[in-house]
């Protein structure tokens, strides 16, 4: 893994505009940034990202079984009790998952470490699946990259295949997002094209425009009943909204399925560590409430004493605390050697329970810290996108960097 300076494609900004990629610059800063790119070997991609992430997803599925079978875990994950059956039933019915993005700390040498799994509403899909792909094709054509280079990016084709696999041909799928947010919208449109290619009908509806019919079904902003709904809106909010009481009775099929409520939840990180302690791709993780005393040198609670002892040195060297719900780095605090060294400015999720996770310092490349976003489609890792930030907490204004495989 290296960071390589490369010439930008002439006129790429105009091309981005033309394609409708309107947020290539955000807040006056470049969001898509191609003055350099990350280079990987095929071995790094396959052995350190692709295989481990496919295996991690399988472990996550095992963790779902554990969480859904336990009132205590559902409570700790703050799944509203009224919807425990609804969430569990979606798993019992084997409702298939569509996509997710694992964020990893990886520097090209040791094992990639799972920071968190956004398995419900990951964005940056268009940049990863489409614009990054175009960058590679065009840089090859311009002779900037050799024809032998490749990219870990089978995302679009995998989405088409997965959608064809999980829905009957001709199914009408509604895609709901906040229409005023171009990033969210781009993500659902990218999925919408994949759905159409898979032989489905794809219809956009503004999330706030969704209504309830007299029969208790959900309807789109033009009163058409919603049979299948992809929502770029997190389950933890769905389950707390006014319409939550109608989720189960609506007859709507949801993508992602409701069981993702226990996956896209940072409480899955302590659960994974409990189930797979010492796994090379996991970081030690606990609920802050369980280890706050132990972190100060008191005796840890008996249930986690052994696990804590095994991880204590790592945690004391450096750890991160974060709320079980948050988006875009909100609420993340980094501690090293007993001192707080960095804190995310956005604290709007700080009233939720927090987890403690051992710090996997992000590598630094030319003043920036990259995070690997490994895309899972269905149950398989099929591609990646890299975001880097000048700060060690990756947040919404980080930059997207293209990558290529050579050697």
């Amino acid at each position: 893994m290296k960071k390589i300076d490369l010439p930008e494609r002439p006129g790429w900004r105009d091309r981005a505009q033309e394609l409708g990629f309107t947020f290539a610059d955000m807040g006056g800063e470049p969001y898509w940034e191609e003055t350099s790119a990350y280079h990987f070997t095929l071995e790094e991609v396959e052995n350190d990202i692709e295989d481990p992430c496919t295996a991690l997803h399988e472990m996550v599925r095992e963790a779902v079984v554990t969480a859904l079978a336990s009132d205590e875990w559902l409570q700790r994950m703050a799944v509203p009790e009224a919807h425990w059956d609804f969430v569990a039933d979606s798993w019992k019915a084997a409702e298939p998952e569509l996509y997710g993005r694992m964020d990893l700390a990886y520097d090209g040498t040791g094992a990639a470490k799972l920071l968190e799994y956004n398995a419900d509403t990951p964005t940056s899909l268009y940049e990863s699946a489409s614009f990054q792909w175009l960058w590679l094709e065009e840089q090859q054509r311009l002779g900037v990259l050799s024809p032998g280079t490749d990219q870990f990016n089978a995302i679009h084709e995998a989405l088409v295949a997965r959608i064809a696999e999980i829905a009957e041909p001709g199914t009408d799928i509604h895609f709901a997002a906040d229409k005023s947010n171009p990033e969210d919208y781009a993500t659902v449109e990218a999925l919408g094209w994949a759905a159409r290619e898979a032989g489905m009908g794809a219809h956009f509806t503004d999330l706030a425009g969704i209504g309830l019919t007299k029969e208790g079904q959900f309807a789109d902003d033009e009163d058409r009943v919603i049979g299948t709904l992809f929502k770029l809106y997190p389950w933890e909010d769905m389950l707390r909204d006014d319409f939550a009481q109608h989720l189960a009775s609506s007859g709507t099929r949801f993508i992602e399925p409701a069981w993702k409520a226990v996956v896209s939840n940072k409480a899955i990180l302590p659960l994974l560590w409990q189930m797979f302690p010492g796994h090379p791709n996991l970081l030690p993780a606990f609920f802050e409430a369980d280890v706050a005393g132990a972190m100060r040198g008191e005796a840890p609670p008996s249930g986690i004493a052994r696990a804590f002892e095994g991880a204590a040195d790592m945690l004391r060297a450096g750890h991160v605390t974060k709320p079980i719900f948050s988006r875009e780095g909100a609420g993340v605090v980094i501690h090293q050697s007993g001192r707080e060294v960095e804190r995310a400015p956005d604290d709007s999720y700080d009233h939720h329970a927090r987890i403690v996770q051992a710090l996997a310092p992000l590598p630094e490349f030319g003043g920036f810290y990259p995070v690997i976003g490994a895309w899972i489609v269905g149950e398989t890792c099929v591609g990646m996108g890299i975001r880097e930030d000048a700060s060690r907490i990756t947040h919404n204004l980080s930059r997207f960097k293209p990558h290529y495989i050579e050697g």
């Binding site: 964005t123 490749d150 969704i210 309830l212 997190p234 909010d237």
Partner: protein
Amino acid sequence: MTASAKKPIRKRSRHVALFLAGTAVMTLAACEEEKTDAAAFPDLESCVAEARNGSLFFTEQDCQTQFAAAQETHLETAPRYESKELCEQEHGAGSCETDPAAQNQSGGGSIFMPMLMGYMIGSMLGGGRGVMSQPMVRTAQGGFATPDGKQTFANNRGTGRVAGSTFTKAPSTVGKAPMTAAQVSQRGGFGASSTSRTGSRSYGG
């Protein structure tokens, strides 16, 4: 581990979808409806004034005929509610009145409906229907809508192009049991983003 599984030589898609067309294309390109010219007026006078300018597709006579028709359609198809509170919840405070049709029936008087707040006339060139109309009522958000609520407008004055189906008459509600709270279809029950104290900038991440 899947190391033993045969991996594709090529790690990237052969093609991708590159074009983000925006919401217009995603909203059901499959059944693009024929649009028709329409003009909305808060009352008969403003329609007549516009017709005298002679710039639009209707005459003063159309204003008269269609206003009467809209009043009739309103009485026949406006949503009816079992309480004033429920009606105002859907149409805004001060926008509701008792159902005049129910006044004449025994046991009437406790049915509420939104007031007629304007009407829309359209030129139906296709199908030889000539000029048609729809009544307009207030919405809870402060806008205007046709009686079935399917078409909403920011205001009740102006011209534009609307889908032909806007002029399709809604089912009759006159003499039917008024809607209870449970029957009133609701909107906007998703999107409060309750897990964030500040509401969310983006739902994704």
